[in-house]
Amino acid sequence: MALLDVEDLSVTFRRRGQRTVHAVDGVSFSVDAGEVVALVGESGCGKSVTSLALMGLLPRRGAQVGGSANFDGTELLALDQRSMRDIRGKDVAMIFQDPLSSLNPVIPIGIQVTEVLVRHRGMSGDAARKEAANLLDRVGIPDPRRRLKEYPHQLSGGMRQRALIAIAVACQPRLLIADEPTTALDVTIQAQILELLKELVRDSNTALIMITHDLGVVAGMCDMINVLYAGRVVESARRKELFAAPRHPYTVGLLRSIPRLDVGRGEKLTPIRGSVRDVLPWSEGCAFAPRCDRRIDASIGEPPPMVPTHTGHSYRCVNPVPVEEKA
């Protein structure tokens, strides 16, 4: 059995006076221990909401969560606040997108690291400080003893993200969720942070859910990739297969929009036309249809089902890209 099994997860935002938003609309995927699974899709497709739902961090008012998320035998979505707090930061940890705003500006880095150790590992005082310095050292922050006393604004962007990673791995979680951990960083720093994450999960056999809008980010580190569109998984495959033989036109579009070094052959960077706002509700057909070149009559009318293949690759399209016609 997988470490985390997400079945038919849905999140609906209902607010008085506002339109109901189906942010996540029946997402299923699973993560094995030590596995790296990617959730990929354009901004607004429901990636962050999915991860916040798993963490129990959605706003208490106005968000309605359905489906199931089984974490090693525990149903995360049914847990009460108190038990969720015991799991969060200990068994399941998360890294966020913007490292500056994700750290408390008026508290030294040291306390922000030690407080998890105090909470979940029963450490205190010197032992906690020592371990915090070890953690900072492990994520590649030089001179950790001094850094512990500093405040977030005194660190560079890359260092801050390393500190957040140190906090996340402090209790050796079995599952780590990284929500666009490199989006706010420079390209060179991005690569370093990805390398660090890869190393950390490899060494500790931690499962990682890697969330990104950029397929390029996961090209070098994922086992399984789930492509999301408008709150649903539209394609799911092992990394090699997805890159070699993408079937969903949206995935092909995402692949075409990755900047590549080997573009010399006349292949141009082509963004997907239209925007995420041009969606059809899933109940009326394929949500991607309004932006899709391969749209056929069958795309509209009823929601396309997920089509499985014998290799574990599946896609949600009635007119998939043929395998030969490689992207």
Partner: protein
């Protein structure tokens, strides 16, 4: 930090200089003069002229100002026309009363306003939230002297729970080494004197607290609401910290930053703005004395007190800026 403080203090000199000129011109253009206050409407022109001469008010304005400045440089603010005592002595004797009143008002405003603003934010949209926002609006609308009169009429004159006027009951024969009556009572171990002084502070303190209370409720509420939506609070939650730690260490600490600044500003304002409250409650602080000085056209008192208040206002604000840089590591004063 040291250079910052020195620079701000040096800046005080031109400010005071400008203020003194404005004051001088304004005071001497007020209709009437000390002679009217002393003689009433009856005095003959000769008597009036004689008084003006004896006070040096017959000289050209520039000469008068020159004399004032010369004395000021020797830290001499002159003598009160109505009490015949030194202005600095009067100030030292009366200022402690105003300080006690301000502290009382701020303790009430902070002690009730911040918790209320915090609860309103935690339960935003609830009845408590609407009530406290509405109440604080009312607090800023009601004129202080009206509130002071109502409090005095109801709780002092009608119910008789609190004394109506003064700083201490005249039947109490207390010694006053510092002129801070509460402190004096504690220092001399005259407990009843201290208790009586506190008793006298409550109603005027409540009246004076109304505006800072209203402002603190709203600033705290807005600030907590903003911090609750910050990413670092989500990070704190993601760490699985207990609700208590999240609230105290992450929400409250950050939410208090703007509140701390306004506490400083409000304190400065109260110190200089207790005139109405002190007048209604016959509370002997600088406010009441200033009020009397205006009707007496007591020029030296008005000039001296207002300059001293300006100095104190600046010092309080300086203290606020310095302490702010201590609570918020991102702010470094230069």
């Amino acid at each position: 930090m040291f250079r910052f403080i020195v620079r701000r203090l040096l800046l005080l000199i031109p400010t005071l200089f400008g203020l003194s000129i404005l004051l001088f011109v304004w005071l001497h253009r007020l209709p009437g003069g000390p002679e009217t206050a002393i003689l009433g409407e009856r005095g003959t022109p000769e008597m009036r002229a004689q008084i003006r001469r004896s006070l040096g008010l017959d000289e050209p304005l520039l000469m008068q100002y020159g004399r004032f400045m010369k004395r000021l440089l020797q830290l001499d603010l002159g003598t009160s026309i109505s009490t015949k005592r030194e202005v600095t002595t009067e100030f030292i004797q009366r200022f402690p009363g105003t300080v006690e009143l301000t502290i009382t008002a701020m303790v009430i405003a902070i002690g009730v306003g911040i918790p209320l603003g915090y609860l309103a934010a935690r339960r935003s949209g609830s009845i408590l939230d609407h009530a406290s926002v509405g109440g604080s609006l009312l607090g800023t609308c009601i004129p202080i002297f009206f509130l002071a009169y109502v409090l005095k009429a109801v709780f002092a004159e009608w119910l008789g729970w609190f004394p109506a006027i003064g700083r201490q009951d005249s039947s109490i024969d207390a010694t006053h080494p510092t002129n801070f009556f509460v402190l004096d009572g504690l220092l001399t171990r005259e407990w009843d004197a201290a208790a009586d002084a506190i008793w006298h502070l409550i109603l005027p303190g409540l009246a004076l607290a109304s505006i800072p209370f209203a402002i603190l409720v709203r600033i705290t509420r807005a600030s907590v609401l903003e911090v609750l939506g910050e990413d670092f609070v989500r990070t704190a939650e993601a760490k699985g910290l207990t609700e208590r730690v999240v609230r105290r260490r992450h929400v409250l600490r950050n939410a208090m930053l703007p509140v701390a600044t306004s506490i400083g500003l409000l304190t400065g304002l109260l110190l200089s703005g207790a005139v109405l409250t002190e007048t209604v409650f016959g509370f002997s602080g600088i406010g009441l004395f200033l009020y009397e000085a205006i009707s007496n056209r007591d020029y030296p008192v008005l000039q001296g007190f207002i300059l001293l208040i300006a100095v104190i206002f600046t010092l309080v604000n300086l203290a606020v800026d310095v302490s702010y840089s201590l609570i918020d590591p991102r702010v470094r004063v230069r």
